[in-house]
Symmetry: C2
Subunit: 466 residues, 2 copies
């Protein structure tokens, strides 16, 4: 982790003095607020900013950036604080812009199945509002994250195999540049060949190129029918081969989640799941018309039968389905409950699906070799899985083994054509992996950063060092 | 169109001298070859480069760029020359890199449904080779374009409504930077949150940021069943409303193409279509399992019935289907045949689908008002349509009216939240529209261009002026 390279206090004071008349009591200097904003949900610790402003408009965000640009003071955008890669650490102090009060759904166009929201709107808030239009926004990273944060980290989650990630579901953005200009990217057309794709440059830039203040989203019709199913296997290989076959048949599965034996053991205990065994298990969700869903289930069951899948059972009622997916969503807490009082180091590699079984087998073997407790959950339709490596606070020897395991997983992923992060981002802890993964590409990224943010004020020390 | 700002001859000579030992007879200076490479399939005329090199490897492309970077000589990448926006005009002379000999499919991973191809591989070549693996690459712009050219212009076409455009179907690229460095972007993982999205920055950059030499593509399983259907309507409105309803029901239609009454008249004559009337007509294609396709057809027929669609008929046999789609693919030539000896100015606007009927109605009315002959074909599931404005060579007064109509369409599109180009690119003729559409965003694009190509050698005078 980078050390705290403090920004000169007089520059910070100049910025705070210029912003106080605009923000009044929405500019906060108290330690509690600053500390709350100087951390995510990870274990990178706390590095508080010098001040937190609660912005309510594009113009207010622009005012912050103009002042910070003038005085070379860092700016860190903040949604709900659910980052798990240290994105929110104020490594050099500066101003945190909390966007949670920019929580308006600005327009919904039902006929075009798009909407425009402010960055602080959360995923659950959006879907609650959209329900009345018969539409939904599919990207579901688990946490009730803000749409702005999800855009900034290129988030995805359980539905990506069918509906894509944030990358595929954003039509355009409003960004405030490091100089304080308000710029629209993309537009309402479903496609465009007009100029450079600034939208995708900003998605996943982790707040290092500007502040995303508004997001124009693609929406999807709520399916006529939703069913869920569960099937367990002797081995991770058998489960992975079922997934490959299902993808190759073009089955439009909405969710395909793998839980390894240890994770299933944890979920059975934590969520009191009845009728399940601690074996590698796939959770499926099917969206479509009644006939299409029935056909998907029949095709899938034939595939899982071929690979020795047992206990294929489906949940039709909303209650049954919700219970299953609640257990899946609680997998993180279930995993944590395996060793109460421990904290988790979460890996996020993503490999080509042909490599998935070998990669998970290797990861499990390495965890055993290093004597670590590591449940696994995976968005396996995309080849992405998370290993929770449980670590006892204060046990530095064990933390060393955990880091060794995490490092091993990234190395294996890169060797197999995968990525060091499927959906969490680089943040502060994976900068060396980005260099391994993208080599000369990182120099291009740095050129772009220098061109767009010459004073290097936007979320410094994230993604790469300059 | 920009004037020819000639690059100093001694700089060009230095580059040619340094490249001759590498390329030998694959470096061509003859006027015929240079003129062939200094134009596309549009009506922007010819501006030949100073030399054409036929590259066979990344290293050879890198050698060209290193020399051109050193001597500040322009570089224009060339695929098959099917651009229709003046991308290939050597406005300042320089070196054209013909990539057609980089035509190898480097790897196909059937289990992961991806492949990596050299930039000169054409769409039809790729699909012929993939057939044996039961896979296909869906992006179909009509022309048998090169994959590199399609990536560079963010091409799409008839299948985009179901499978997306080039943007959604590229996993990674090999690019050669303006400095001659060979850089890999993206990777084989289906998703990644690792750093800036250089892949999407290069897609649609029209060769202004580097040369795309290899493309890693997502592939799709060949559907179990493919059927086509045709339905005609009293009005464009009725057709457009049918499309909106189909999209809102989540029907996974693979193709939805609109031909207006004049275009149908042209196609009936040109392709000898039996049983069709010169009325607004939708062509559909359905992909899926037998049950899914039957269900899609039934749902769609109910929708078109609601909007007064008549003559709903489907083609099951490959022959019938091919005849229909051949007629659709020949729509351009059919339109041209309405007024033999004329040439066409092709518009490319794309609007939110709720705006589609009004936009087409307005375009047809304006064409009548200006006394121009203008068939319309549209990828209406995306809101994208092309109006062919037929112009008699040498008739400058008529050309003026055609340009007035084209300008009117772009203005209407932007007013309705659309784009000036859905899939052809900005090239040399739409730079002022890009400014209208993206305003302050163009300055960001220019900053990126200056950072990555400081000597401004890559395909100068395209997308924007510097």
């Amino acid at each position: 982790m980078s050390v705290n390279k403090k920004t000169p206090q007089d520059a910070v004071t100049q910025v705070i003095n210029s912003l106080e008349p605009i923000f009044k009591d929405r500019l906060q200097l108290g330690l509690a607020v600053r500390e709350q904003h100087g951390q995510g949900e990870d274990s990178y610790g706390v590095m508080p900013p010098d001040a937190v402003v609660f912005a309510r408009s594009n113009a207010e965000v622009a005012a912050v950036l103009k002042a910070c640009h003038q005085w070379h003071v860092p700016v860190i955008p903040y949604g709900v604080g659910s980052s798990i890669e240290g994105h929110l650490l104020a490594t050099r102090g500066g101003i945190c812009i909390d966007l949670s009060q920019m929580d308006q759904i600005l327009e919904t166009n039902a006929a075009d199945m798009d909407c425009r929201v402010q960055a602080g709107v959360t995923r659950e808030q959006l879907n609650t509002e959209l329900r009345y239009a018969g539409l939904f926004f599919p990207v579901d990273p688990g946490a009730n994250a803000s749409i702005g944060g999800m855009a900034s980290t290129r988030a995805s989650g359980t539905n990506a195999v069918r509906y894509g990630t944030m990358k595929e579901n954003i039509l355009g953005l409003t960004i405030v540049t490091p100089q304080g200009d308000i710029v629209q990217t993309g537009g309402r057309a479903r496609k465009s060949a007009a100029g450079y794709d600034l939208t995708h440059l900003m998605i996943g830039a982790e707040g290092t190129l500007g502040v995303i203040t508004e997001i124009r989203l693609r929406l999807h019709p709520i399916p006529e029918q939703i069913k869920a199913a569960v099937c367990s296997f002797d081995t991770v290989d058998a489960a992975a081969l079922s997934v490959i076959d299902a993808m190759q048949c073009g089955l439009p599965l909405a969710r395909i989640e793998l839980l390894n034996a240890l994770q299933m053991q944890a979920c059975i205990a934590y969520s009191d799941l009845q009728g399940f065994a601690p074996r590698p298990t796939l959770f499926f969700e099917f969206h479509g018309s009644e006939a299409s869903v029935s056909e998907q289930i029949a095709s899938l069951q034939a595939i899982t039968d071929d690979h020795g899948g047992t206990g294929f059972s489906w949940a039709t009622s909303t209650e049954e389905r919700n219970a299953l997916w609640k257990a899946r969503h609680n997998a993180y807490y279930a995993g944590m409950a395996l060793l109460p009082g421990h904290r988790a180091l979460t890996t996020d590699i993503c490999v080509p699906i042909s490599q998935l079984a070998d990669t998970i087998n290797d990861a499990e073997a390495k965890a055993r070799e290093l004597d670590l407790t590591c449940p696994v959950v995976g968005h396996v339709g995309d080849g992405n899985f998370h290993m929770l490596i449980l670590v006892e606070p204060g046990n530095n020897e064990q933390l060393g083994r955990a880091q060794q395991l995490s490092h091993h997983l990234v190395s294996e992923s890169l060797r197999r054509g995968g990525t060091c992060t499927g959906e969490h981002g680089i943040g502060i802890g994976k900068k060396s992996y980005l260099l391994q993964e993208h080599g000369a590409g990182v120099a291009l990224m740095q050129s772009i950063k220098r061109a767009l943010d010459p004073h290097h004020i936007m979320n410094p020390d994230k993604i790469f060092d300059l």
